[in-house]
């Protein structure tokens, strides 16, 4: 019973189309992560936020990927021009940073298929 809500569960796009997915983090978790999981079950970090501010992001994210976590709205990850290699499971996770050892929570993911 995940408390991180991701929508949509499945997304099908043609090459060159925009793809947008959303994430509502666990209440009270200020840190949000986006990961891309490929068919080999490898996790690739994309970007993370603390509140509305970007903490870290990879170069790929800066080019075709954009993400935001506005206050009082879902976080979102958008791919401006989808490519076949973007087909993957996109996972959102949230956490409460600090020394208390709070477990990050993951959403169910958005499965993107680029045809």
């Amino acid at each position: 019973n995940s408390k991180v809500i991701q929508t949509p569960r499945y997304l099908v796009k043609g090459q060159g189309q925009k793809a947008k997915m959303r994430c509502i983090p666990e209440k009270g978790h200020p840190v949000v992560f986006w990961y891309q999981q490929n068919k080999n079950n490898e996790f690739k970090f994309l970007i993370n936020f603390q509140n509305q501010e970007v903490l870290q992001q990879i170069d790929m994210t800066e080019k075709r990927f954009s993400a935001e976590c506005p206050s009082n709205s879902p976080c979102s990850l958008e791919i401006q021009s989808s490519e076949a290699g973007d087909s993957a499971l996109y996972l959102c996770a949230s956490s409460l940073p600090g020394t208390g050892g709070w477990a990050p929570l993951f959403g169910e993911g958005t499965r993107l298929s680029v045809l």
């Binding site: 990961y35 079950n41 956490s95 940073p97 020394t99 709070w102 993951f106 959403g107 169910e108």
Partner: protein, 110 residues
């Protein structure tokens, strides 16, 4: 930064105990260890966490070596529903970064 490695796969029969190991040789004093399971078409689900020694909850137990470089997830009495990919994750930067293990696919036969 901790690097985490796991055996790629394990097999078990229903009713057996399964022990999945994770090596995190560069783990720092500030980093915690978490274990998750993932089944197809779902996100990773939290199982158990620890910092040192031995932790147990209603579904699993976790042993962490004294030097914290190795952790072992123990699943007692596995059933077919426990077939999944199990990941250890080490948090870094006070929980602002996640270091994923390579994942262990656990297969369960009747």
């Amino acid at each position: 930064l901790a690097k985490t490695t796991q055996p790629p796969s394990m097999e078990a029969y229903e009713g057996q105990e399964v022990n999945v190991s994770c090596s995190h040789t560069n783990i720092a004093t500030s980093e915690y260890i978490y274990w998750y399971r993932q089944v197809p078409h779902q996100g990773p689900q939290f199982i158990i966490q620890g910092y040192k020694d031995y932790v147990v909850n209603e579904v699993a137990s976790l042993f962490i070596s004294a030097d914290r470089k190795l952790s072992t997830l123990s699943l007692p009495w596995v059933s077919l529903r426990d077939a999944a990919v199990y990941y250890c994750i080490v948090t870094h930067q006070g929980g602002r970064a996640l270091i994923f293990g390579t994942g262990t696919t656990v297969s369960v036969s009747p």
